[in-house]
Structures are given as C-alpha cells and as structure tokens.
Symmetry: D2
Subunit: 407 residues, 4 copies
C-alpha cells in the first residue's frame, strides 16, 4: 500500500489495481493537464491538475465503496474507473474537448479505445478486469456507474472542493464526508438517505455558484475561446491530427502553438496574457434563436460576417456561443419520510436552478482591445442582438480583475 499526501483529502491510500494504474503513462500524463485550463488567467492559484483530481476521485470512490460495503472484483472495477475516468481528456481539459469531438467523435469520457492497449490494458488484465466494463463505468452506465459519473458522483464532489481550495473561492465547500456516508442503493438506484435534502442541495447549489464565478468567468471564457481557435488552426495547418492532439499534454500543445506560424500570434498573446476583450456580452433574451442554435459552420460564418462589417481581420473576431442550458429536472434521489423522491420535485431551490442556468447564460464576442468597439457595433447589427439587453464593449481595464466588472 502506498500513501499519497493530498492538499484536499490529506492522506490517500492506494493499493491493488488503483496503485498499478496510477503508474501507467496515460495516468501520469494527467500530471501535465491542468484541471481548469484557462481559469488560471482569472485565479492565478488554480494550477492543479487532472492527476491529483483523479487521485481524489479514487479516494472518495473508495470511501463510498467501503460505506456501501461493496467489495471484491466489483469494487476493484469502480476503483479502476475512478483512477481512469479522466484519461480521455485532451490538453487543457474541457477547453478543446468540442474540437476533438468534431474530429474524432469522442468526448473525454469515451475511453474504450484507451483501455484496450498498452500498459493500461495489461494492468487491467493482470487484475482480471474487463476493459469494456471499466469503460462503461467511466461513461456512467449501470448501477455503479452512477457513483463514477452521475448527479451525485464522486467526480463532482472532488472537483468542487478541489477547485475551491485552489482558486480560493469558497463556494465549492461541500461536506464530502457526509455525502459519502449518506449514499445508499435503493432498488438499484443511488439514493441519499433520510435527512439529506440539504446535503443534496448543497452539492447542486455549490456548482450553481462556482459556475459563473469560476468555470464560466468571462476572462477564462475569452482565453479558452482563443486557445480553441488557435488549436483549430493548428489542426488545419500543421499536420497535427486530432488523434495526436487528444494524447498530447498541455506542454506539447502550448509549444506546438508557439512554433506553428499560423498560431504563433495567439500563443504569444496567451503567453503574455494579452487577451481579447469583450466586444459584446449578451443575455439569452437578447440573442435571436438562430444565433443561439447555430452549428459550428454557421458560427464561423457569422464571425466572418462580423469581421467584414467591422472591417477587421477575421482573426480579430471570436464568437463564443455556449450551448443552451440543458440541465434536466434533477433526478438525484433522496429519501424523505421513507419514500424515494426526486430532488427536483422535492427541493424548491434545485428546481429553481434550471431557470438560474438560463439567467447565467451569456453570448460573448471577443476582439483585440483596439478594435473591440468597432467589432461590438458590427456584431450587434450582424447578429441582430436586442441592444436593450446587450452590453457592448468592456470599457473597464483591470485585466486581472477577479472581481468581475460586469456580467
């Protein structure tokens, strides 16, 4: 047994298949993939990695299995899935995930192909575990898959507290010890025991507060959009293919962007934190449906139209349209007065989160500081935005501001 010191969970004991998997190259690679990608431009302390997060998820999974009295091969399978759940992440985690998906058809939790070869496959085989069964758990399938990837999963428990610890934003502080102790299976479904409505609410509310403050902070979104744009160019110009990209680490990608002529300018800006500014920042009510729902090609076209209208280089306009909030009614299950109830039906706060997510949605158009004014005006016209609800141009400087100037 090996003990690893973690800044969040203190001591993490690793043994069995988990200890063996931690030593494999695909897991060690996660040491060089930032957990929060470009969020570090807003919160400079947020340099933690997918590696330590994976150890944390393993630790909480192990605690939960212990609590649920699940043992043997079934438990080892979950532990393996916990350690491996993020090996499908491309560099900078979610930042280029969509891009990789467009080219390879794979999201980060589609790891089947990564478990079938090399040291990971050998390690699973040595411990008598079926790689497909582990991949299914990573994808959230089956009863125990809910523990690894579901509404009450240990992944979310770890990242909320870890991101809070490293950004310094206190909203992610949930009671993981209580959450794990409250888990039980009722008729095959993962359920929180009696008296845990608030425990479940706290998990969902923590995410609702961390989202605009950390994960979707406009500075992180701008840098992410620039990184994504640059990476797209890299794939087009450099002979790097998307399958290779998926296996790079942050170091590889960053240096590749610096070295490729088509992307060097973006890399230079990212290195100096010389980021684009918001030319437009619009609430959903201000944005025509056809813009919200535009597909990738359509968005690229709209960017070019805005650039034309503003008479700037196409590289000087980045359109950033988040997906429509898709949060379904929360189906987390909680025991209340002896009955299993869905949290969305039981909790007024949680049911309000669907609307809140829509309230927090923002379309962004970004441009270099010197042309942000022109681009903003052009974008409002070209995209047909309702200017009553649109904020055009970020006029305030303070580029490091974590106290978000407007939203």
């Amino acid at each position: 047994m090996t003990t690893i010191k973690d800044s969040v969970h203190d001591h993490i004991s690793v043994e069995g298949v988990a200890a063996a998997l931690v030593d494999t190259p695909p897991v060690q690679r996660l040491r060089r993939v930032a957990q929060l990608g470009t969020v570090t431009y807003v919160y400079p302390s947020a340099n933690h990695t997918r590696f330590e997060h994976s150890l944390g998820v393993y630790h909480l999974a192990d605690r939960a299995l212990d609590h649920l009295r699940i043992e043997g091969k079934q438990a080892e399978r979950v532990r393996a899935a916990a350690v491996l759940h993020d090996i499908g992440h491309a560099p900078y985690s979610h930042n280029v995930e969509e891009l990789v998906y467009r080219y390879t058809g794979k999201y980060h939790d589609d790891v089947g192909d990564l478990l079938d070869t090399g040291p990971v496959a050998r390690t699973l085989a040595d411990h008598g575990l079926n790689p497909d069964a582990v991949a299914d758990l990573v994808a959230g399938e089956g009863q125990l898959g809910q523990l690894v990837s579901g509404e009450l999963d240990v992944d979310r428990m770890d990242y909320l507290v870890r991101d809070a610890h490293h950004t310094g934003v206190p909203y992610g502080t949930i009671d993981t010890g209580r959450l794990v102790r409250a888990l039980s299976f009722v008729d095959g479904d993962l359920v929180l025991g009696e008296g845990n409505v608030q425990t479940a609410e706290s998990l969902l509310l923590a995410r609702a507060l961390m989202n605009p403050t950390v994960y979707s902070h406009h500075v992180a979104r701008i840098a992410k959009a620039m990184l994504r744009r640059a990476t797209e160019r890299l794939l087009a110009h450099d002979g790097v293919d998307a399958a290779e990209l998926r296996r790079m680490d942050d170091y590889d990608l960053r240096v590749a962007l610096r070295e490729c002529p088509a992307t060097a300018a973006y890399a230079h800006r990212l290195d100096r934190r010389d980021l684009y500014k918001r030319a437009v920042w619009a609430e959903m009510a201000a944005v025509p449906d056809e813009v919200v729902d535009a597909d990738h090609e359509h968005r690229r076209e709209l960017e070019r139209e805005v650039a034309d209208a503003a008479n700037v280089d196409p590289d000087a306009v980045v359109l950033d349209v988040p997906d429509r909030p898709s949060m379904p009614e929360s189906t987390s299950r909680v025991l209340v007065n002896g009955e299993v109830r869905e949290l969305g039906a039981q909790s007024t706060l949680v049911s309000a989160l669907r609307t809140a997510q829509r309230d927090q949605w923002r379309l962004g158009v970004y441009a270099p500081a010197e042309s942000a004014g022109r681009v903003g005006d052009a974008a409002v016209r070209t995209l047909g935005l309702d200017t009553d609800d649109t904020r055009v141009r970020d006029v305030r400087p303070g580029i490091h501001a974590t106290l978000d100037e407007f939203q």
Copy 2:
C-alpha cells in the same frame, strides 16, 4: 491600538471607541453567552460566544467603512454599534429571547436602555457619541444602519463563517472579503456593485443551507424548547424577574435552573443531555392554520390538552411551533448592467428561497423517550394533524447524531 487574535479573521485591530467599549462589563459579559445556545448539543465544537462574534462584526464593519471611505464621528458611531450590537442578548442568545420579550417588550436589538447608563454611557460620552444614535444603528435604522443590521449586514457575514468554522459544517463559507469590497452606496442605499449577483446569492443561500442543518436542527430545537420551558418556570417560581434574566450570563442561568426546585429536573436532563424525543415532526401542510397561528396562551393550552389525552404529566409535553416564515422578497440591491435591481427580482435562486423556507418549516411535539409514542398519538388527534404528512415518533436512538435521522 490593540491587536486581538481571532480564529476566523486572524488579527483584529481595535482602537478608539471600540477599544474602550470592549472593556466595559456589558461587552465582557458576552464572553459567557454562547453564540449558538443549544446547538452545541448537536455540534459539540460549537462553543463560541457572542464576544468573539462581536469583535468579528466590528472587524468587518471597520473594513467596510474603510472601503466606503466613511470616516470621523460617523464611522466611530458604526464601530460602536458593531461592538454593542449584541449586548441586549439574554443568556443562551436567541433561546430565551421570546420569553424575555413577552415580559419586557424588548428584543435583543432594542438596546437603548443599556446604552444610557454606566460605563457604556460614559464611554460613549467620552468619545462624543450620542447613545440614541448608536441604538438606532443597532436597530438597523438609517443609511448606515443597513450595514449593521440589514440584508447585507456584517453581522450575518460574520456569523455564517464563524458558525461554519466552529460547527465544522462547510455551508457558511462565504467570501466576506469580496462582499465587503463590493459594497457601495447608491442614492442612500447599500448596494452590491456590478458582477456580484452570485456574491449576494451566496450569502442568502449559505443561510438557507445552514438553517435546517445547524440553526434549526431538531436536536437543538428540542433542547432549546426544554431550556425555554424551564426558564419560564424559573420566572414564575423563583423571584427572578425578566429584567434580571436579561442581564444574566449562561453561567447564572444554568446554575439558577439547577437550584430552583421547579426547574431542577429540566436542568438535570440538560446537564446529562438526556433530551426529550420527537413525538411528532410535521410539515406545514399537515398542520391546521389555527395551530400554526396559535398565540402563546393557546399553545400552552394545547400542550395541556395533549398531555391529558396522552395521560402524562403536563411537563412531559413540549409543543414547538416556529413562526410562519416571514422572509419578504429579498430587497438586497445589486447593480446589474448599470441599474440598481432588487435581488429578489433578479435572482431566480433567491426568489425560490421564500418557498424553500416554507418547505423547511416543521412543527415539533417533544416528550420523554418512554412516553413519546403515546404523546405522539395524542398530539396527532388533539392538534388535528394530517397524518399523511406527519412523522410520528422518532424511533431511532443515536442521540448525538448530527447526521439527522429524518426531517
């Protein structure tokens, strides 16, 4: 200048009128008044006092005044009010507040009479401050009164983080540094600056989560109801009058309850944590309006009726009916896109809190373990409870449980 080490805010520098007031007996008395009263029966670490809380409130007020660039006598008045804001608390803080109010007409923030005499009056006079003006601030009146007692006040900011620190429950962790930095006055009203919708939400959501988990935990409510009942008997039997009670500390009251024959049995139970159990725990929908709205006398009568019906001693039934949730639309003000908006109108989550408060309301009937079954049955009949929504009798033992068994 004196520096005091605090477990929450680290170093607190005290000077001027605040330093002088800290040394007065009414403030020193707060060293012996527990901040959370009977909550320590649930969370054994929660032994912090009104004294350290008052220092914390002073500290945050001082930071806010500094940020708002308020100086001179106006600022000293606020600092004085911050130090003094809790000197009107009776022993065990809110636990016997209603009782004191019934006898004296004074709630804890009605401190005018306490500022008019003795060392406090002399200290205020020495610093050229008008006691009535300070009392008004404590009562939340005027523009600066909002800072001391209002929806965004420094009182709440301190108690949430302090109660989280001492109970170990993480939900109260708000970002006080950001809250204080976001404050400004717009047209005479305290307002949070642009980009702080989440900052404001976090404050209200933290309270919404701390409330059922900590402040209204059923074990704390049971002990509080027993303490209140005993203190009521003490006033009736012992020659202690309510004005004296209001000036006692926890030590005086606890020893008085032990020594008075009419209350010694309650004191003995409290000393040994031999608490009554829930005979009934009912959601609002299950309780007839006339029970919810019964006044003090009517409630005592209902208790006696339940005791009769259950054929137990009247002392063996305690009826605990919280006030109807009265949270108005949140009128905290936040700047959004340059406009002052009310948080209740802007934030879906905050507007959901009104309903959530109603969801969390519970009527309790408590009785000694051995008669809880009979009392529960009698109470359901006598009070006319709808048994579909009523939980009768706490059948589980685990009396220290902080993992609330049912709710």
Copy 3:
C-alpha cells in the same frame, strides 16, 4: 453507530463502549469544562471544551488501533480510556489542578475512584471491561498506556491541533494522519517508523512554540493565578470541600466564587477582565534557588512579606512560581536506519528543547494596576531578585494584547 461532526477531525464515528460512555454524566460534564481555562482571556475564540477534545482523542486512538491492528477487548479498553481520560479534571482544567491535588492527593489522570461507581462503572461492566485496567491506561501504564498518555500519545496530538484551530495560533498544526500511520510496536515499545524523525520533532517543537505563546501567555497566567487564589479562599471559607470542587463544572465554580463574600471581589474582576498586572516578570537566572524551590506554605509567606513591604493588602499580591522545567531527555523512540533510537539522542532540535524550556521559564508577581509599581519594587527586594534580569512592572496598557508586549 453514531457519527459526530467535529470542527477538527470532521466526522467522528462512535460505537461500542465509547458510544455508551459518551452518554454518561461524568463525560457529559466535560461539555462545561473549558479546555484551556483562562487562555480565553488572551485568545477570545478559545472556548472549546474537554468534551470535544475527549472525542478527538478517542478518534485518534481508534485510528491508531486500526493502524496497529489491535482489536477486541484490548482495543475496547483503549477506546474507553480515551473517552474517559479527562473526567478527572476539576473546573477550568489545569487551572486549579494543583489545589485539588494538595487537598485530595489526586491529579487529573488519577481516575480510579471515578470508574468504580455509577453509570461509568455499569457501562464498563456491561462491556466486560475492568475499571482498574482502564484507569491504568489513563495513567499511562503498560504498553498501550503509552498511546493514551506518553510522549507520542494521541492526547497531545489532538490538543495541539485543536488548540491551534480555536486560538488561531498556527504553531500546533502537526500532521496527525502521518503520526498515527507511523506508529508501531517494537519489542513492546511504541515507536515511530523509518523516515519520521521530522514527524516526531514536529510534535515536540509544536508544543515548544505553543507553550509560551498560548499555554503560558502571561495574561492567561495572571488570570489563572487569580482564579486559583480565589478558589483557595472558597475552600477555606465556604464549606465547599475539595472533593466537591473536583466534581463541579466551570458554571458551578464561577457562580460559587461570585456568591461567596471572600471571593466575590476576585470573581467580579474576572467577570470584567479587570486583571492584575505584572509587577515582576523574571527569568530563572534572576531568581534565588530558594524562591524557585519554595513550597506552597513558603510561597504564601513570601507573598505576605511582599505585601507588608509594599504596604498593601495581602490580597493585592499574587506570587506565581512555575515548577522547574522537568522535561527529561526525550525518550520517544524512532526507527533510524533499522535501529530503534531515542529521539533525544538522535535529534539536535529535540535535545535543545530542554534548555529552551529553561529559557522560557518566568517568575511572575502580580498586583492591581494601581499598586503594581510599589509591589514590584518590594518584591525585587524581598525575593532577592537580580534586577539585571528582571523586568519590573508592565508599563504598557493594551490589556487584550495577544501580541505579547514583553517576555
């Protein structure tokens, strides 16, 4: 199994004999005995109790037993000793311990008589445990007694981190998780495994830093000396005997001191934090051996002589002479290169602690502020102090100062 939320160790699971003992009156009484007595006059947040500390000691003992794979009755005995280890404390913990000892011959860890009767005895019997064997463990006897009371015991591990958490002084932050994991038995002795010289050093250094900063801070010592003096008077005048005193809680003692005419003045001062000041504060080199080694009667006599010489009331002089530092060579054992070595021989830092303790020793003479000057002069003459090394009279005000003015 019951789970208790603790502000230091998060969740503590209690079961078996420990769960039953927690509910007994002698353990519940510890809820009303402050862990650090008068230290709260310096660090206002330090209001934690012997009760939560006892739970913490139980928790660490339980972790250590688990790690050492000790099970069954032997383990239950240690768990019982951990829960009960502090029930022998008089009110205000160590503050009146010497006084109780002079009258009853019992220090706080001499608990044999308390385990022989009442609910504790019945609970031990119910679980088949011998009270004498448990009392031996509390006194540190036998192999497993080292775990409960010894140089590497879980008592110290808990109090250092708990006192740091509650005072806000960071020096007590040791790595309890690593300490517990490093324990093993070698030839019947508790030993820290390879690579843990620093782990052991950290424990001893933490105490060396906490001692002058917290435990022996001069303001805490002054208040303690006043409390001890008052309690001594109470025993002399009031019909309270020392056996009763030993079973009181802080509430009883404080109210008794207020009500007894011979002690009311002291109680009044303590209530208002109107403490004596240092008239003398002298390093060991300045103090004649016969003063350092004076017994109780001799010290009382010296006090009277100083009062005479200063022409003040005998109550206005308190002489506070700590015992000579008695720290033996540290005999904590650590594995180094496969050999069991004594820490005192292995660690230069630890061997320096003996001298450091002597450096930190101070004799105090305390008096009311207005007579501190006269008393100081008289004490220097009467006690024969070497004025080169003596500080006479604390001239600075700042009575709440935690930033110790001189030492």
Copy 4:
C-alpha cells in the same frame, strides 16, 4: 486598482508600479515556472507557480511597508522588487539554477540585466524608478533589501505558507500577520519587536521541518538530479545556450528535452515518473571530505568511476552531493527586554538548527532500479564511504510514497 484572488492570502490588491509590472512578459512567464520543480513527484498537489508566489511576496511586502509607514518612491521601489524578485529563475526554479550559474555566472537573484531592457525597463522608467536600485533590493542589499531578501524576509514568509497549502504538509504554517506586525527598524536594521522570540523561532523551525520533508525529499532530489543531468546534456548537444535556457519556461524545457535525442530517454522517464532509485544514501559522517568538497568536474569523474566499477552505462549513475550546510549563526534580530539581541544568541532552538542541518545532510547516488544494487556496491567502494553509516540501495518499492521509507 485591481484585486486578485489568491488561495493563500485571499484578496491581493495591486496598483501603481506593481500592477504595471505584473502585466510584463517576464512576470507573466512565471505562470509557467513551477515553484517547487520536481517536488510535485512526491506531493502531487504542489503545482503552484512562481507567479502566484510573486504576488504573495508583493502582498506581504505591501503590508509590511504599510506597517512600517514607509511611503512614496521608497515604497514603490520595494513593491517593484517584490514583484520582480523571481524573474531571474530558470525553468523548474532551483532545479537547474546551479547549471545556469556555471554557464552564465548568474544566480536567480542577479536580475540587473533583466531590468535594463524591454517592457520592465519601460515600466520602471514610467514610474521614475532606477532599475539598479531595484536590482539591489532583489539582491538583499541595503536596509530595505532585508525585507525582500534576508533572514526575516517576506519571500520566506510567503513560500512557507504557500508550500504548506499546496503540498498539504502542515509544518510551514507560520503566523505571517504577526510577523509583519512585529517588524520594525532599529538603527537601520530590521528587528522583531518585544515578545517575538517565538515568532522568529517559528519561521526558522518551519523551514527546518519543511526542508527534509518537502524541499529535500529524496524522491524530489532524484528527479531533480535527473532533470539537471538531462539539461546539462541538452546544453552540450542541442545548440540551446544557457542564456536561452535561463529565459525558457517549464513547457519549453520539457518539450526540448523530449525532442533532443541525447535527452529523450531522461524526458521519457520523467514523463512516466519512472525514476532512478537510491543506490546509496549516506550521512555526512560516512562521506570522505574530498567527496563532500569535490567540484563539478571531480563529481562527474567520480560518477564515471562508479559506472566503470559497476560495469554500467555512465548515464546510469547520478551522484548528488549537496553543498555543505552553510547556515551562519542566525543574525535575525529580536528585541528582548529592550535590547536588540541576535536570535542565534538568544534562542537555544535556533542555535541548534546549525547542527540539525548537518544531521539532515545526505549524499545520494541514484541509478535505474535494475542496476541500483551493483551501483550501490561500486559507489561505496569507489567513494570510500563508511558503510556503518551508509544505507545501500532502497529496497522498498512504493514509488509514490510520501511517507518516506528511510532517511
């Protein structure tokens, strides 16, 4: 004014020259230089960077200036020095510092040439600051230089708490607030005020505990030695010169090591955490003086001799000989009884640190796991080690172990 959220100091306000300097490329580059280099191989959470550390040092310097009432240009100079103090670091901070020094004659605090050109020079000029004066402060020269680089400097205060926060090792938790408040200038020297012997001790003891546990943990030392060896090869083979190396970031260096054929094997091992093992780990008493004092060339020669004797490839032997501990008597000054005293003379604990440092010194010889046995035997003979005090070969596996197996 810009406010930055930091995980250690919470909110850091940046303005004036500091705000302008933070935006310059040499400071932004520090976002990509790990604070603790290879320590992350032992403590996976230790991914914090020189950038956030520099902000922290600025913050503490600003607090100290405020406390010392130093204002105007003199203060701006110190703030500039604080922000810039680490821009001279090569990739992986101290890991390749010696190597850069051998080639360029510059240690990391020799930054004169970096302040003379480009945006940093322009920014200093814009604020009327002389670059040479700022460089002198970074080098610790002059009265205020002691604040930036000296025994009581804010650099050390920040890194101890920051490294503790990110590794999870609690020993670095010092009281920065009290340290800053205790600073004063007496006759031109930085001195800690009365009553701060323990405050000063805590700073030095914290470093003494963090050193073997974190900074010189054997796994971090092994990885560092491998990185240093590889970088040395890179300079020899690749046309990268030392001046370029000094300006690279961690990303550049890591990718360069992967791409250069002479270093790819080392890079591959570092990427997979497939580290060499200890073949020898020897206390100072076991090592002949001529080995301890061997210069660079001699050490390389000894490595080759060991490889020959063991009949392995020269790349398979890494000799790691730390400098002799050079800690002078601590000259930190503290006020004691009104006199300025040197801490080394006043504090028994601090004077013991010199010896302790020697106790902690270890020579290491590292080799691939499969040849560590042979290399160990050969090294003992070739280097003339005294085998009584030498540990040959790390026989235990647990390669992630933070619970150091032996030392």
